[in-house]
Symmetry: C2
Amino acid sequence: MPREKKITSKMVAEYAGVSQTAVSFVLNGDPQGKVSSQTKRRIRKAMQELNYKPNLLARSMRTRKTQTIGIITTGIGGGWFTRIVLGAEQALREEGYHILLGSISPGPTKAKSMMSSIDLLLSRQVDGLIIITGSESQNGEGLSPLENSGVPAVLVNYYSEQEIPFGRVYVGYREAAIRAVEHLAGLGKERIAFLGKTMEGGSTGFTREIYLGYKAGLANASLPYIQELVHSFVDVTEPYSWGMEMAEELLALKPDAIYCLNDHIAFGVLAALRKRGILVPEEIAVVGNDDFEAAKFVDPPLTSVDMMLEDCGELAGKLLLKMLDGEEAQTPLFGPAQVKARASTVGILER
Amino acid sequence: MPREKKITSKMVAEYAGVSQTAVSFVLNGDPQGKVSSQTKRRIRKAMQELNYKPNLLARSMRTRKTQTIGIITTGIGGGWFTRIVLGAEQALREEGYHILLGSISPGPTKAKSMMSSIDLLLSRQVDGLIIITGSESQNGEGLSPLENSGVPAVLVNYYSEQEIPFGRVYVGYREAAIRAVEHLAGLGKERIAFLGKTMEGGSTGFTREIYLGYKAGLANASLPYIQELVHSFVDVTEPYSWGMEMAEELLALKPDAIYCLNDHIAFGVLAALRKRGILVPEEIAVVGNDDFEAAKFVDPPLTSVDMMLEDCGELAGKLLLKMLDGEEAQTPLFGPAQVKARASTVGILER
DNA sequence: TTGTAAGCGTTATCAT
DNA sequence: ATGATAACGCTTACAA
């Protein structure tokens, strides 16, 4: 019995003794009120009894709309990508769209695989595309199939010199840094060290944003930019160890706070300070970025800036919806950022 | 210029001066070798010059295969769901399938929303379905649309009394517990406490698996089951605090190890032991489950059992592929589990 | 080896 | 208000 015959609208029409057209109208809510409520009832009853399920594929074929958005991402990473997808999915689902996942392997030949992934999704006739790129800077690589497809697309975190005819959404890194510094300044901290990547250190993309935010935050708080408190990394393979080392180096310079590019670094910093018996936050407060789950459980719990990635995803989804409605790709949008204050800055109030 | 006209295979045929059939054959690799290599070249050239992209929707319409797998999940949770999807996606992509995301909001009316989600995906003519359920036990709720659709489906972590005609994959909780206990026993621990949910405590689903694994692990290591070292929770709202409390209670009973249902609880345990100045792992070793990212960064780094969720996803994907090939839904499959040894059991060897 | 034509399940156009 | 009929772009017997 599991093998029911597929019911088509034609069969429903026959069963109800009406035309297929009438069935179609009922299916689409009969906007112009062309079907008498009597036959409407008959048709609905027939649908029920036959357990009819419309074939959305056929509909898409005809309407040239699939109600499907492709999401592609390179450089997947522990959850950060997911949170964005989640936000986007929700925004899009509310409008009746589904998500079709593009290739999500990091892949060596990035631009090439990006192109083929886009091609595949376009072949499947997605109505729009969201592309979440790794956090590195890049140029218009791999986007060529999109450009002349006319399919609206939103790029998330796509740092590029070139002008591109797509919507853009960025994670709020700069705001994150500004808020972090403001938070620390608000606690009376004045010598706020920075562990990240400076422009002199060759920062691009999101690392650049964070650095600029750090400087802007200092300016907002009327604090001086102290060169010797700013450290730039070159290689990121061991952020934890780097954080430890840098913390050691900084000690002599008596900072009263350390703001770190990410939580990994901050964890290293905390470990180093713990080992030295430095009081956190009384002597030195520490702030990280990204608000990893782990931040709650280190000792002391780490204040970190949540990048609100779901919100970024929602931003991307809503922007895409507008574009699907015919609006032009606007100026870039930036996601919010929120300081999650914990013991590493405010002491023992909460876990 | 972004608005190129859509190119169809018919246009390619005209342009190349051949029949649409020939184009179609080339598109599908011409299995029977019905097209001369000359015309093949002509056709390929035409495709290139017109920048032809086949419309996969139309193909699906005809072949009644969409090369699309729907994935539905209830009770999403910080990343655990994602890792499974990732594994499945990879396995399926290798065989040319794409993932269509079903509704992924927790939702109050779970069974109802599950049904509509399944219906929607079926309407979109997915070739198969993977359903990742929350970790709670359930009955055949919400699966009725699937049963008589004849569409193959794999359920992940679906704990149910009833027989169901679907493939099933379970996260390797029981094995996880067995390995954890073996790991501890291997280190010479003999009084291994358990913080989880016992059958007497009303465990079902995965909590039951873990408990059974704990007992099996003890048996394997010829260790006695010591009733007083086993604690069962009722309410899970504050696992961290519960872990702290239980650790305190256990102290008097002199356990030499504590195995926790999850990392949250284990973090609480570690915190309590740290406060008491108990040496970990010399006096008491601690093991958690799930291997959160945070496990690496607590003090001391926590040994935890990785549930290898990507592998579970891969298992699910591959099982589904087999079912798509006509094989029957087999006996349930269980994912692997791997102890990630860290300082909380083996001392300071690694972070 | 190549071409013709039917059909997949819808929706949209145009008469009735 | 309702019903034929033609698309949408592709695959696939079957005919040439």
